[in-house]
Assembly symmetry: C2
Homo-oligomer: 283 residues x 2
C-alpha cells in the first residue's frame, strides 16, 4: 500500500487535505515539514504532503526553502482546500456565545477569525495552542465554558460540536498543499484535476534593473501565462534572489526548453520543480 506522510498532528488542515484527496492509503504523521520531506527523500515513505500557501501549520518559506536548498523532490500534484474555520464547543454546551470565557486555537487561526471574534466575542480571552488539534483536545477535556477554533476534522477527531460554522474573515481564502514523490504515478488522487501547472525555479545572475523583466519576456512572447511569481532571498546573503514561477500549462518539449535556453543565455539558472495537476477540493 502507498504510504503517505503529512505534516501532523491529528486534526490539521494538512491531514484534512490528505483525507479528502486520497482513497485507501496508509498515512504517517510528521512533526515538521523538513522531517516529512526528508522521509520521502530517503524512501521511508512514498509520498509527502506539505503546506505551501496560506497554511496555518507551516510557512510557505520553509517548504520552498527546504525543497530548493536541501532535498530536491519532484512536485507531482497540488491540492487546493478552502479555509473553513469553525467555532467548536463540547457536545453538551448549550449557552450563549457571550458566555464563552476562553477561546483556544493556533495563533494563525485566531488571527484568521479576527473580525468575527472582535464583533461577537469581544470579552473572551484568547489562548494560543501549538495546533488547532491541540485546541480541540483542550476543549474536549474541559468542563468550563470554553471553545476552540478548528476545522471539521478537529471536531470529529475530538468529538466536539460545531457551534458556528465558517467564522473566518475571508470567504474565498484557500490553502495549498504540495504532493511530493519520486514516482509521479504512485499517488492516485480520487478527483479530477482541473488544470495543470509547471513550477520553475529561476535564479538571476545578479541584481540589476530589468533582469526580471527580461526573464518574463521569455514567457510573455510565447503567451505562457504565469499564475504565481514570488521572489525569495538566497541563503547566501542579502540582495541575492531566486524566483519561483508557476506556469499555467503542462511541460512540453518545445516551449519550455525554449524558455530555458533563452534564460540560460541571460545567465540565469533554471530548474523545473515539477509539472503536475491541480486538484480543487470541496470539503
Amino acid at each position: 500500500m502507498v504510504k503517505i506522510g503529512y505534516l501532523g498532528p491529528r486534526g490539521t488542515f494538512t491531514k484534512l487535505a490528505v483525507d479528502t484527496a486520497f482513497n485507501g492509503v496508509d498515512t504517517q504523521s510528521f512533526t515538521t515539514i523538513p522531517e516529512c520531506i526528508d522521509a520521502v527523500f530517503h524512501d521511508q515513505i512514498d509520498v509527502g504532503v506539505v503546506p505551501l500557501e496560506n497554511a496555518i501549520e507551516g510557512t510557505v518559506q520553509l517548504t520552498v526553502d527546504y525543497l530548493v536548498h536541501q532535498a530536491r523532490l519532484p512536485i507531482v500534484a497540488e491540492i487546493v482546500v478552502p479555509i473553513q474555520q469553525h467555532l467548536l464547543v463540547s457536545p453538551d454546551f448549550s449557552k450563549d456565545l457571550t458566555e464563552v470565557s476562553n477561546v483556544y486555537s493556533h495563533s494563525h487561526a485566531i488571527a484568521q477569525c479576527h473580525q468575527f471574534l472582535h464583533l461577537h466575542m469581544p470579552e473572551a480571552a484568547f489562548n494560543f495552542t501549538s495546533s488547532t488539534g491541540k485546541a480541540a483536545e483542550i476543549v474536549s477535556n474541559s468542563e468550563q465554558e470554553i471553545a476552540a477554533i478548528g476545522n471539521t476534522l478537529a471536531a470529529k477527531e475530538y468529538g466536539l460540536k460545531i457551534y458556528k460554522e465558517n467564522i473566518h474573515d475571508y470567504p474565498n481564502n484557500h490553502t495549498r498543499f504540495l504532493v511530493l514523490a519520486k514516482d509521479k504515478n504512485i499517488a492516485a488522487i480520487k478527483h479530477e484535476a482541473e488544470t495543470e501547472k509547471t513550477s520553475m525555479l529561476i535564479t538571476l545572475p545578479s541584481d540589476y534593473a530589468g533582469a526580471l523583466h527580461q526573464v518574463l519576456a521569455a514567457f510573455a512572447w510565447r503567451k505562457m501565462n504565469l499564475s504565481k511569481i514570488e521572489s525569495r532571498p538566497m541563503k547566501t546573503g542579502l540582495g541575492n534572489y531566486f524566483f519561483i514561477v508557476d506556469v499555467n500549462q503542462p511541460y512540453d518539449e518545445v516551449l519550455f526548453p525554449g524558455v530555458k535556453a533563452e534564460l540560460e543565455a541571460l545567465g540565469c539558472n533554471v530548474t523545473i520543480l515539477g509539472t503536475y495537476p491541480v486538484y480543487q477540493m470541496d470539503l
Copy 2:
C-alpha cells in the same frame, strides 16, 4: 511618549526587533497581527511593528492581506533582523547534549533547526509550544533535562543559559518587520538606514499572458530596480491576483507618477503602500 505596539508575547523576535530598533519608548504587546494593526488604525497606539517575512510568530500572508483588505496604513520603516536560534537550558544544567530528553519550541523554530537537531540530538523528543517564549518559560519552571529553542531575549527574560549558539540551519537567514504609523516622523529609530524602498500594490485587470511582463516593463525602461515581487490571490475567488512590488528607491515626483499613469492606462490599480528607510540590525 511614543507608544509602540508589537506582536507578542515576551521573548519573541518581534519584541527583539522593537528593543533593538527603538530607544526609550512605551511598548504594548498584542496577541495577533490584526489586533496590532487595528490599534494603530484606531489611534490607540502610535506605531505598530508586525512581522512581514520569514517570521516565526506570524505569516507574511496575514500581514499583507490585512493591510491590503482591512486597514490601509502607511509603512514608515522596515526592520531586518538576522534569525539566530539558540539552544537554551536552565542555568544549572551541566550534562551532555545527548542527555536532553525533550526539546520545546514553536514548530517553526524546531523546523528552522532541523539539521542541527537531526545530527546532534536524534533521540530527543520534540514538543511544540505556542511561542518560543512559552518554551523558555517551560524550561525555566522544570527540573528535568529539557531544552528550549529561542533567541537571546527569551534566554534573558526567563533566566536561561545559552548551551549552544546559532543552531539554525541557514546562516544568512533574516526576518523582516514592518513599522506602521499614520505619522511617518513619529518613530525615531536609533540606527542609520542603509537603503530606502517604496512598496506598491498593483492589481491586474485580468489574468492574461504577459500582463505582468507589461507591468514590469514600466519599471524596467526607467531602470527602477525591484527587490521583491510577490503575487497574492485576491480574496474574491481563485484566479485573481494582486502583486506586491518593492522598488529599491524612495518615492519621487517624476518616475513613480509616470509608472502609475502607465499602469493605470493598462487597466491596473496602483497603490503606494509606503516609501520608507530599511534598517539592518545586528543583534
